[in-house]
Symmetry: C2
Amino acid sequence: MTASLPQPPYYAVIFTSQRTTVDEGYGDMADRMVAMAAGQPGYLGMDSARGADGLGITVSYWRGPDDIAAWRRHAEHKVARDTGRRDWYRHYTVRIAQVERAYGWHHDDGPADPRP
Amino acid sequence: MTASLPQPPYYAVIFTSQRTTVDEGYGDMADRMVAMAAGQPGYLGMDSARGADGLGITVSYWRGPDDIAAWRRHAEHKVARDTGRRDWYRHYTVRIAQVERAYGWHHDDGPADPRP
């Protein structure tokens, strides 16, 4: 399932990245960062996808900018980012955005457009 | 490469989706929608990734909410969404967000944190 979140407004951190071919340590660190982020104040959820071409998008959701900044200052998160720049990423972009509206659809809802 | 965009503020549409196993027509329609979106007023760029588990994230970037609404009303886009709910998607979520800050890093920049 994808992240199930409260009603907006809340914040999204959109992390778009291109991996190198270096895999050593990546999976363990990624799992650890996901678990650590989930324990931070203001964390709401996360979705992540990476295609066979190595381009990935991770969107994490947060209560507000202060929570995002606090996670960014976390010592282990800093180490992970440093290692990422050294080994795992070719390039990346980070965007901080305020989610204003959100809606979803599930197959069980039937075929109608959820926002006609 | 990932989307290269103007300075914020601008808008992001975060589309998180789970595919069914139905592939018929999907690739052609997805390519067509990417090409059509790129021709709409206010379109800034798009990034997309889908993992082997069928979870995908597409983020399209726009000048503002009116541009997003206009693309949503486009007749062929409506047909694509209808077909998507019938055949290609198990569930999806759409989030509209205002991008407030953005920064990037490329391997050629060297190892320093782009926002220390």
